[in-house]
Every structure is written in C-alpha cells, then in structure tokens.
C-alpha cells in the first residue's frame, strides 16, 4: 500500500461538474424529460390549535390541480411517524402524523398536500384550502414548558418527554466539602442550520417494473428506503433512494420521514406520474427541524487553585412539539459537558420538554456547543473569582496525555459509555496561545478561549464496495451521501493508496441505494471514520485478491508483491508484474471472450491452477465489499482562541484574530478538513452574533426570511488561522477521527468570553447582538 494520497491536499474530483453548473440537486431532477407534477404543503399558521374541519373542495376544483390530500385520504393517515431512536428514558415520546387532522402543535405542521401541474397553480390552490382552527394555549419557552403553564400533549404530564439523571462520583458531598462554590445560569435560544439548498423530494413509481425511485435531499438514503419499503409494503429491493447532489445538510437532513418524504412517493404511486416537492425558504424556517434551545442551572465546587472538585448540571432541553429524534441531543450535551477536563464528581440531570415549536434534532454540533459553553464559562467564572488567568485554570484541570483511555462516567449517544481514546489537550492549549500571540493595542479588546472534546465516528457501521474494472479504472461505492464534504475525493484517496493507482482513476458513488444499499447515514462527524475505514477494508481486500491472482500467475509469493503505479509487481521490480486491468480480467474466468483483453481469462488461455476456476468461497471479479463497525466513538478535540473588539457605542463586533488548533487524528485531506473548520467557525459566529429564531409568545416565528434571519456574509466572517496536531485514534486502522462539526463547537464560548472581557459585563446566554449588548450594559 502506498501512502501517496493520505495526508495530501488533493484538489476535489467533485468540482468540475459543480463549477460548470452540471450539479444534480433534487429540484434539478427531470428524469427522461418526464415533467413531474409539482406540489405544496399547506401548513398550520398557529402554534397550537384543534382542527375542527378542513375544506379542500374549492382547492380540488381548481383547474390544473391533480389531487389534494388530507389525513383522511391517506391509508397511513392515522399512523404516527416513527420515533427514530427509542430510549428507555424517553417515557413520553410523541411523534406527529404525516398530515394533522386533530391537533396541530407548531407553526408549520403539515395539514394538507396539494399536487398540481405547476407550483404556481398549487400555491393558488393552497390559498383556497379552508381550515377551521380552534386556538389552544401556547407554551413556547423551555421555562414556561417546564413550569407546565399549559400542556403541549394532553397525556404528557408537565410537558416532560424524558428525564435522565447520571452521576459519576458523589456530587452533593463533594460540593459540601468544596472550599468554593458558585452557581451559574446559562440560556441558549434556538438556532437553525439553514443550508443553502432547502429540502426537496422527487419520486416516480413504475407500474411495469413495480419499482419506486426517489430522489431526496437527505443525509440517509438507506434509512428512507427502509421506511418507504415498510410503509408501502414493498420489498426493499424494489425501492431506490438516491441522495443526488445535496446543497448542505448540517443536521436537519438527518431528520427522517418528514411528511413530504412519504407524501411525495405516495402521490407518485397513486397518480401514476412523477411528483416533486421543493421546499421554499420561508417554509424551511418552520418546517425543518431546529436545535440549540436549552436552559442550564450549574453549581461548581472548586479549590483555591482553581481545580474542579464537583459539577452539578441541571438542564432543560427544548424538544419542540414532538420527539422524532428521541433524546440524542440532551444525551450528547450531558456527556460532553466535562469536555477535556477532569471532573472528579459530576452529576447531570436533564428534562426534555415539549414546546409548541418546530421539533428539534441535530444541527452541527448537536448539543456539544451548549456543553462547551457551560464548561468554558464555568471555568472562566472560577478564574474570575480566584483572580487567575483563564488559560491557567484550564491547564490545571486538563486531562493529561498519559491518562488515556479516559472514562468520564456517563453514557454516550451510541449506547456505550464515554471513554476518550487518545488526545493531547495541554498541547492544544499551548499551541493556541502561541498562535494567538500578544494582545492587540486598543480599548475594548477582549480575549476569548474555548476548548472542546468531540465524540465522533459513531456506529453502527458503514460499508463500501470497491471494484477494479477491466479497463484498469476503479469504481467504489458506499451507502452514505455527501453534502459537500468531499467524500468522493477523500474515499478516492483511501482507495487509491490501497490499490496503488491515481486518485483521478477512482470514481466514487455515494448515497445511492442502487449502488450500495447498506449503511446508516452522514451525521455526527462519522463519515471519514466509518465509510473511510470501510473503503480501506474493501480496497484492502481487493489488493489482497489482486496479489493472490498475480502470485498464482507469476508463481511468486503474494507477500513479495506490491501495488504501485497501477500495477501489481514484485516489490521493487516493475518489470515483474501485471497491470491491474489485466488482473481484473483474470479475476473473472470466462468462456466467451468479449475483447478488452478478456481472452486472457478464457479456458484455453488462462493458466490452470488445481481445482475449479473459482475455488470455494471465491467470487468472480476484482472487487470486494467491506464493512467497518467501530468499537466505540473516537474523540477529536480542539482549542479556539480569539481577540475581539466591541465598539463601546454601537456594540458592533470586530473579530481581530481567530485561531483554531484542532486534532482529528490522522488527516486524510488537510484541504478538506480546513474547509470544514472554516465553515464550522462561520456557522458558529453566525449563531453567536447574527442569527436567532425570534419566536413570539404565540409561537409565531417573526423572522422567517433571509432578510431577517441574519446569516453572515463574507464581510462578517474573518479569515481564521488553523493549525493542527494529530493524536491518532487507536480504535480504527486508519487512526482517524471525525472533523465535520469541530469548527462550530466552541465558538459561542470563545466569543462570550472575549466580549465579557471587552465590555466588562457577564455573558451567560446565546445568541448575542448589538441590541443585546446594549441592554446588558445599561444599569438596570
């Protein structure tokens, strides 16, 4: 195996197509020139209401309208959508139905589905749908939900979907014995991922082939396929789900079985024509899952050196109106609060509470930004109380390099315990401080610091298929899709190394169940670890097979062979070998030659070895399918540091310098990892200072447009400096850790810390804005 590609800044194979405008995003799909019917979802404008009646007669009668569906028109109209990740503590999990017919519980909940010849007509018809709503009281903040001012679900007491308490050590007694104690309160408002491509689904049913084909801008085509097969009573093998080009995911697209994902295929099957649905931006704001709403009560006990003795965290997580994603988010927060620090006694309790808002599920970071904020701000508070440097307090509490594997004492989101596999946290801190450099001159300058640990690479598994074609080119496939993370390039690097070929000669397909039907999905910074290692396994098997074929053919030992430059050759002897293309031919014993060198594999030409042409257990072709199932998560880590200036009059934020030191184990493609970090930091800055989801007391989202949901432009995002260290993971053969979410995790904490220092006012909430800083800085 060469290591020619691993670790290299390989330019992306995906780019040419995308740059020429030949990307295929779901709304672009127009298979066979068959114009699909277009559709619109009619959604509730109220956060909580009983539906007395739905009148679609006028809508159905409009010329150009092909069908209008309500729950009554669906065979699955009274089936609750699945809870994707059940958990024993989720005692009162609730999910919605495809189309509501009795109660709506958030603005945006779907009520009717209109299919028409064009989107314009469908929108015209939507205006004719009359729904008689009887308004019900609304709870919108986690605090009011936890107080149970009103109930979101009549049969869920106190609005509590789940409660979970974990304790490592003995927190109460440790707090009582602590020389110093402090209580802190933190509050996080909801945020949204807002990928540039909203969601879309396209479906076709072929009666002749009894086959359902679905294009879906999703992060898990294999799961969608499984669900559709079950729902429609089809064999899985008759359902194809493809995630074509996806314009960003960031989490909301790993929420599965949005109503349209069932309605569009259903309509295609019922109406006998392809049907498509493309979400619009305004709709996206309330239709697509959100995240980030939590409220924390913290008590920390520490000694006079700033060493943590005990940490008690009690938080409420805003689930939204339903809990389709289970309690993964608060589990992650609970698990990640300790971060890279030794917390000898840690207790964490959470309640997952219902509110009359869009359901929540992971958005890049997925509960970790909150955990990081809580721990980092707590350490800052300890530093302030004791008059110590913030960096020094961290130094005194960091887990040391010789303490791995390190058991934290709480549960992880994959059902295992949290055990950090490797890392060098002190080195991250020192390097960040070095790279940050001296404080710039001037007033109102603050420094921010934030460290994090990130559990990545969760299972259950991923798989890959790798094949060398008789042309010598290589094709590979995996079940997980890409949303811009350069999977095709990165997998090609791994395969190219195993097979000794050029990256340009490896073509990767991902997220297409027709090419690879098994897999889990792209989320939780797991793609490189799981699919990457699966690619290495499969390609490694192909390499071994190639060696054995050549060993037989040349009568040498397989151990003496190497794959280099597109050939299988005796180590160091390029003249004693065979091109991979030829090996691919020999791998498939044929009776009938078909050109392309295949005559070499025919029965009178091929070198005989004892036994049948295919020995027992052998398969034809130079191909293999391999899987990787991680024994546990691998733990990436990082440190961010920044200098900011806050204008004392306008409260405008200026980021003067922002440095990132990250550790994601061995790096496959630094260009890609840096891009992920730059993008993550930008999302973190957006989420900390520009974006918010402004719900009013009636559960109306007041800023559901890009004019008022302020995603940062280039002028708001500085160029950051990135450096890295590598502590390989002992858990997987490639030694890699995940990197997709790292950039966003500590940004809020870093900015809060810096702004607090710059302005001299305590910052305990997210997001911030000039208005918020103005209000916080006024004497109350």
């Amino acid at each position: 195996m060469t290591t020619r590609w691993f670790g290299e800044r390989v330019q992306r194979v995906e780019d040419d197509r995308l740059l020429r405008g030949h990307g295929r995003f779901t709304d672009d799909i127009n298979e066979n020139g068959e114009r699909a019917l277009e559709s619109v979802l009619v959604r509730s404008p109220f956060a909580h209401a009983r539906i007395r009646s739905i009148d679609v007669i006028a809508a159905r009668a409009m010329p150009g309208v092909v069908a209008v569906f309500t729950a009554a028109d669906l065979p699955f109209g009274h089936t609750d959508l699945p809870i994707l990740i059940p958990h024993p503590n989720l005692t009162h999990g609730r999910t919605q139905r495809c189309l509501a017919s009795e109660v709506v519980r958030y603005v945006g909940e779907a009520v009717a589905f209109i299919v028409a010849e064009s989107r314009s007509i469908a929108e015209d018809a939507a205006e004719l749908v009359q729904v008689d709503y009887e308004l019900l009281p609304v709870v919108i903040t986690p605090e009011s939900a936890a107080r149970a001012d009103h109930l979101v679900h009549d049969d869920v007491p106190g609005n509590v979907a789940a409660e979970m308490i974990q304790e490592a050590g003995a927190v109460q007694s440790a707090l009582a014995a602590s020389p110093h104690r402090k209580r802190l309160h933190f509050r996080f408002e909801r945020g949204a991922a807002s990928p540039m491509e909203a969601r879309a689904v396209w479906a076709r049913w072929s009666t002749a082939e009894h086959r359902l084909t679905v294009y879906d801008s999703t992060q898990s085509p294999t799961s969608i396929r499984g669900g559709l097969a079950v729902l429609f009573g089809l064999p899985e093998s008759n359902v194809d789900v493809i995630a074509p080009d996806v314009g960003g995911g960031f989490g909301p697209k790993i929420m599965l079985f949005y109503p349209d994902e069932l309605l569009v295929p259903f309509a295609a099957m019922k109406l006998g024509r392809p049907v498509k649905w493309t979400e619009d931006r305004q709709e996206h704001f309330t239709a697509v899952n959100q995240e980030r709403g939590q409220v924390h009560e913290v008590e920390v006990g520490y000694d006079s050196d700033g060493k943590l003795l005990a940490l008690d965290v009690d938080f409420v997580h805003d689930a939204g109106a339903y809990t389709p994603y289970g309690i993964i988010l608060p589990i992650i927060t609970a698990a990640q609060v300790p971060g890279p620090y030794r917390v000898p006694n840690y207790r964490v309790r959470f309640r997952d509470v219902y509110t009359n808002a869009t359901p929540t599920s992971p958005y890049r970071g997925a509960g970790r930004p909150h955990a990081c904020f809580v721990m980092e701000r707590t350490l800052d508070a300890v530093a302030a109380e004791l008059g110590l440097e913030r960096a020094e307090v961290r130094r005194r509490n960091l887990i040391q390099p010789d303490q791995f594997p390190y058991e934290v004492g709480v549960a992880w989101q994959d059902g295992n315990r949290v055990v950090y596999d490797s890392g060098n946290y002190p080195a991250l801190l020192e390097k960040a401080l070095t790279n940050l450099g001296p404080r710039p001159a001037g007033d109102q300058v603050g420094m921010g610091l934030g460290m994090y640990v990130e559990g990545t690479g969760v299972g259950p598994y991923e798989g890959a298929h790798v094949q060398v074609l008789v042309s010598g080119k290589v094709v590979a496939a995996t079940g997980i899709p890409s949303q811009g993370q350069a999977h095709a390039t990165v997998w090609a690097q791994i395969v190219a190394d195993q097979l000794g070929v050029d990256v340009a000669d490896v073509e990767v397909t991902s997220g297409d169940t027709r090419r690879f039907p098994w897999g889990v999905g792209t989320f939780a910074s797991r793609g490189a670890v799981t699919a990457g290692n699966a690619m290495a396994v499969a390609a490694g098997m192909v390499a071994e097979k190639a060696k054995h074929i050549v060993a037989d053919h040349l009568e040498v030992d397989a151990a003496d062979l190497e794959l280099v430059g597109g050939k299988v050759q005796v180590k160091g002897s390029p003249d004693r070998g065979m091109p991979l293309a030829a090996v691919a031919v020999l791998a498939n014993p044929v009776r009938y030659a078909f050109g392309g060198g295949s005559e070499a594999a025919t029965q009178f030409t091929a070198r005989a070895r004892p036994g049948p042409p295919l020995h027992e257990g052998e398969q034809p072709g130079l191909e293999a399918t391999g899987y990787y199932s991680p024994p546990g998560s691998t733990w990436a880590a990082g440190c961010h540091a920044a200098y900011v200036r806050v204008d004392p009059k306008t409260f405008r934020l200026e980021i003067l310098k922002y440095v990132v030191i990250h550790d994601c184990g061995r790096v496959i493609n630094p260009l890609v990892v840096e891009g992920q970090i730059e993008g993550g930091v930008a999302q973190g800055i957006g989420g900390a200072f520009y974006e918010r989801l402004a719900y009013d007391d009636e559960g109306q989202l007041r800023n559901a447009s890009f004019m008022e949901f302020l995603m940062p432009y280039a002028t708001e995002i500085p160029t950051i400096e990135i450096d890295h260290i590598e502590t390989p993971s002992p858990l997987n053969p490639l030694g890699i850790k995940g990197a997709g979410e790292a950039g966003v995790i500590p940004v809020g904490a870093v900015l809060a810390s810096a702004i607090e220092e710059a302005l001299g006012i305590p910052i305990t909430e997210m997001p911030l804005s000039p208005l918020k800083l103005f209000e916080l800085s006024r004497p109350s």
């Binding site: 979802l41 929108e123 015209d124 939507a126 619009d280 402004a694 559901a704 002028t715 103005f774």
Partner: protein
Amino acid sequence: MPRGCDSGRVKPPPFEYHAPITVDEACALLGSLEDAKVLAGGQSLVPLLNFRLARPAHLVDINRISGLDRIYERDGGVAVQALARQAAVEDSDLVMRACPLVSAAVRLVAHRVIRNRGTICGSLAHADPASELPAVLLALGGHVVARSTRGERVIKAEQLFQGVMETALEPDELLVEAWFPASPAPFAIVEESRRHGDFALAGVVRAADRLALFGVAPTPVLADPRDPAKGLQPSGDLEASPEFRLHLVRVMTEKAFAA
C-alpha cells in the same frame, strides 16, 4: 415581513402584464387601470410579489421605455431619471463631482448586484423608512417630478414622504425624475446595519448643518443636530429597540458632525 406561514408562497400571484414603450403610454395605463403597480428595478417589488404580500391586478413594466435613464446636471444639481440604475449613479463621475453625497449614499444601498437593477427613483417611490436615498433627498432639499395624463408636477422632498412606504404620488402618477441639489460641504452619511448591505437599523445624513434621519420614523425626518433624538418615537423590532435606535442616532450624529 412574512411570519411562519400557512403554506409555501414563493411564486407571484396572477396579474396582467403591461410593457409600455413611452412615458405617455405608461401614464395612460396608470390612468386607466385599477390597482396597477409600476415595475422598474423590481428589487423591492418582486420579493413582495414572490411572497404574495403584494397582489396588484396589473403590473406596468417601464423598463422598455427608452431615453428615461439619463443622469444629467440641472439647476446646480443632478437630475436622475426613472430608469437610471443605482449602479450607473454609483459609477457616474458627474454625480461624484456634482453631488458626492449621493455617490456616498448609493454605495450603501444593498449590494452591487441589487444596484445593477435597482433604480434611484424606484427607491424614492418605494419609500422604505430605513432606506438611504429618501433621507438624502430630504437632507439636500431636493424634489421629484411626477407625470400623469393630467400633466407634470414637482413634489418637494418635504411633501413626498407621507408614511411607511407611502408617498404623495397619486396612483396614476409615474415618478419620472429625481433632482438632488449640489452637496454642500461638509456632508456625511452614517448608518448602522447588522450585516454589510442590510437595511439600516438607523442612519443619519448630514448636508452642511442640515440633518436628516432614517430608520427611526415612518418617513425620513429632519432633525436638530444638537438634539437629534428630540421628539422621536421610533419603533422597535428584532434588532433594535426604540431606546437603541435613539442611542444610535445620537452616536451617529456625533460622528457625522465630528468632521
């Protein structure tokens, strides 16, 4: 702006489309049609159509009228006709020389790509309280020229802006030209916005010792530089409370008059 809504709305509602090729034809249409809106740059109107917040029965697209895009000197100031794009004004040496305050202001309007289509006159007719150009017109004491089948009239800046997105233009009038007097010195335009190119939370325009404010009242307003917040009752929204707006007005006035 739209709130979390009951259904997807991103395609314009039905309307009758008219594309006159002369000003007289345009005025005749505006004079005879019920519920017609003028489409010039479209950068403000088309989003409203897409969201179905504007539902005019008729759209009168004036973009095919030739000879209505001039920028020229008149009466010691600069006249900008209805179809002069904001980008053309931005690039105009004439405007830079004769009325540099307008040059400075137009650079603050949204982004270049919007300015490639948006028009100065359209911005004045749209009369968004947070936009720059109405306040500039007011600070300079300029006027607009409105034409209809009934004739032509001049509307001074002080009379033009009546309320939030409301002007003194009659439904059958077409705003054919805006006139900006020469910029006196010193001049300044200072605004605070959340992101580059966004509508301002608030802003001030200084033309010598005249001060006009935007984003703090239903229309742009003249104010006393020594007490700019006097008498103001700005509205509050997600990014600025009334108090914050008043605070910003004081801060920006100080900055504008510091030079």
